[in-house]
């Protein structure tokens, strides 16, 4: 086993370890690059006020993206997250007007999210539908409709103290919503890297048929990720409703696209089985920073979508190039050692 052992020992050598670390950190490096560029372009960018804004603005996408990540890890897709957010916010507002208790409202919003998620997961699994695209597209439509119907199409003003705090409170310049994101991220990191259930999520994404054959409860795992994604939408609804002190059937429009984009831009695989919470967070921050930057730099409204498109591709592309350069570097490095 000398060759292998040797190779392993070489893996310990510093430049190589650094290179491997850099690969893992790839998207983070690009994110840092983005930050550097932005702070050079706009003096307002690196102010605490603005950093707080970026975090608060990215919080909703980040939470949704973490939920979406779990779904995508199992080779799925959840198109309903934006509508679920809207429905949860409206439910919260209606509950608040009936029973003005903070915890009850929070529970109602979380439960709404999980209920939509359960419909997605169970509809997909028990209905033996060919792809989750179908059921989550249906709930994308139906949850929004329900939110409109429940609210009579009207935004509902007023949210309990605790929801407002989660949405717009802050410790210094650090918004509370950033802590909330951190807590959600931590919990999901724990799930995906340390817990049996998380291992099963990766197994189902890597080989669904194989997972079935190894007696992993595939159906329950699949249902669970949609419920968790719905829960994430409920949490995101709390943040949004708190930021705007309202529940509205128009909240979360196109959030499904944002959340999927965050996961994919952040470097997780759209095809399942590969990726982690870090990818979702990085992707959400990238999107948040790009949008924030457009506004800070007063980019013309017509040109904004063009610039956003170009920057997204450039960010991902620079990570691709970085990866290639690095693997070339590793070969040279290893050949020398």
């Amino acid at each position: 086993m000398t060759v292998e052992a040797g190779a392993l020992r070489r893996l310990g050598s510093d430049p190589l370890r650094l290179a491997l670390l850099a690969i893992r950190l790839g998207p983070v490096l690009i994110l840092l690059l983005l930050v550097v560029i932005m702070s050079m372009l706009s003096p307002a960018f690196l102010t605490m006020l603005n950093l707080g804004n970026v975090l608060a603005q990215s919080a909703v996408i980040a939470v949704l993206a973490i939920g979406q990540l779990l779904v995508i890890l199992t080779r799925g897709i959840d198109l309903s997250v934006g509508s679920t957010l809207a429905l949860a916010s409206v439910t919260g507002a209606l509950v608040y007007s009936a029973a003005p208790s903070g915890p009850v409202v929070v529970l109602a919003m979380l439960a709404t999210g999980m209920a939509v998620g359960a419909i997605n997961g169970m509809g997909y699994v028990l209905g033996r539908l060919p792809h989750p695209f179908i059921i989550t597209l249906a709930t994308l439509s139906a949850a929004r409709g329900l939110a409109l119907w429940l609210s009579g199409g009207q935004p509902q003003q007023g949210m309990p103290e605790i929801v407002q705090m989660m949405g717009s409170g802050s410790a210094g310049w650090l918004p509370y919503s950033a802590f909330l994101v951190a807590a959600v991220a931590l919990a999901v990191v724990l799930l995906t890297t340390r817990m049996v259930w998380g291992r099963w999520i990766y197994a189902v994404g890597g080989n669904p048929e194989g997972a079935r054959r190894t007696a992993i409860p595939v159906d329950r795992v699949v249902i669970s990720v949609y419920v968790l994604s719905g829960l994430a939408a409920g949490i995101a609804a709390i943040v949004t409703s708190g930021r705007l002190n309202a529940g509205s059937p128009t909240f979360g429009d196109l959030a499904e696209l944002d959340s999927i984009a965050a996961v994919v831009i952040g470097g997780a695989s759209f095809l399942g089985g590969r990726g982690g919470v870090g990818n979702a967070l990085v992707g959400a921050l990238m999107i948040g920073i790009i949008r924030n930057g457009m506004n800070l730099l007063d980019v013309d409204a017509f040109l904004q979508p063009i610039v956003i498109g170009v920057v997204i591709v450039m960010a991902v592309e620079s990570d691709v190039v970085r990866g290639r350069l690095e693997s070339r570097f590793r070969i040279t490095q290893a050949a020398r050692s």
Binding site: E4, M195, R199, Y202, A203, R213, T214, A215, I216, P217
Partner: protein
């Protein structure tokens, strides 16, 4: 003695193809049964029906004398059937240890529900490494995803997994097809050890030498039907080959 596993009148059809046609099969504890047949004879299909991957269109399965339903792989596994599939059913995105323990991870604490327990990753890596070393498969980077590994390395992982968790019946579909000389030898030894420990073993193989060496009995399928059973001995070799190939060729 009651057979560990008995299959009666197994019939399975895929669209227009009759893959199994009234197959009977028994295997006893401490016995190695070789399942032989040409390509497309129905061997893998029979195995998948026993392991709960496919459902039989007709026929029944008994274990220890009692009728059972292996409606899903999970049910079959719970009944004590451990299988290595021909296509291996590995998780290409996970490392060998994760593949090894997929579905029965070492985790704790015990008072938590299964899914919420924390993985004991170091324990799993260690045991996996030891077992693979026993099979003499050198795996350069034990933390690489198995999707990147060589054909033989992959097969060794799948075989070691089934052997490690063997309970009543162990089924191996062409377990040495991709293995080198030394690794094949180890797998044959493994099978013999399983027999000694009282497991019932079903092995699919095209390698007559291996079959003659390890099998107590050979059942031959041809186009979905069982056409005969025989004790595989060097003397019987030609007879078995004729059974496999059939009179009409």
């Amino acid at each position: 003695m009651t057979p560990a596993l008995a299959v009666r009148g197994a019939t399975k059809r895929f669209g227009a193809v009759l893959a199994l046609d009234g197959v009977d099969l028994v295997v006893f504890p401490g016995e190695v049964l070789a399942l032989l047949g040409d390509n497309g004879a129905g061997k893998s299909t029979l195995i998948k029906c026993i392991s709960g991957v496919h459902r039989l269109d007709a026929g029944s399965i008994e274990m220890g004398g009692a009728a059972v339903t292996t409606g899903s792989p999970a049910a079959a596994r719970a009944l004590g059937i451990e299988t290595v599939y021909q296509d291996l059913a590995l998780f290409d995105n996970l490392d060998p240890a994760a593949n090894f323990y997929a579905g029965r991870e070492i985790a704790g604490p015990r008072w938590l529900p299964r899914g919420l327990r924390l993985l004991r990753r170091r324990d799993m890596s260690r045991v996996t490494g030891e077992l693979l070393t026993r099979l003499q498969v050198g795996i350069a980077d034990p933390h690489a995803a198995v999707g990147l590994m060589s054909g033989g390395q992959r097969q060794a992982i799948a075989v070691a997994r089934a052997a490690a968790f063997a309970s009543k019946v162990v089924i191996l579909d062409e377990p040495t097809a991709a293995l080198g000389l030394r690794e094949s030898r180890r797998v044959l030894d493994l099978i013999l050890r399983l027999r000694e420990e009282g497991h019932a073993v079903i092995v699919v193989s095209h390698a007559m030498d291996h079959v003659i060496e390890i099998a107590d009995r050979a059942a031959v399928l041809r186009r979905g039907r069982k056409v005969g059973e025989m004790r595989p001995t060097p003397d019987n070799r030609q007879a078995i080959v004729s059974l496999i190939v059939g009179g009409d060729s």
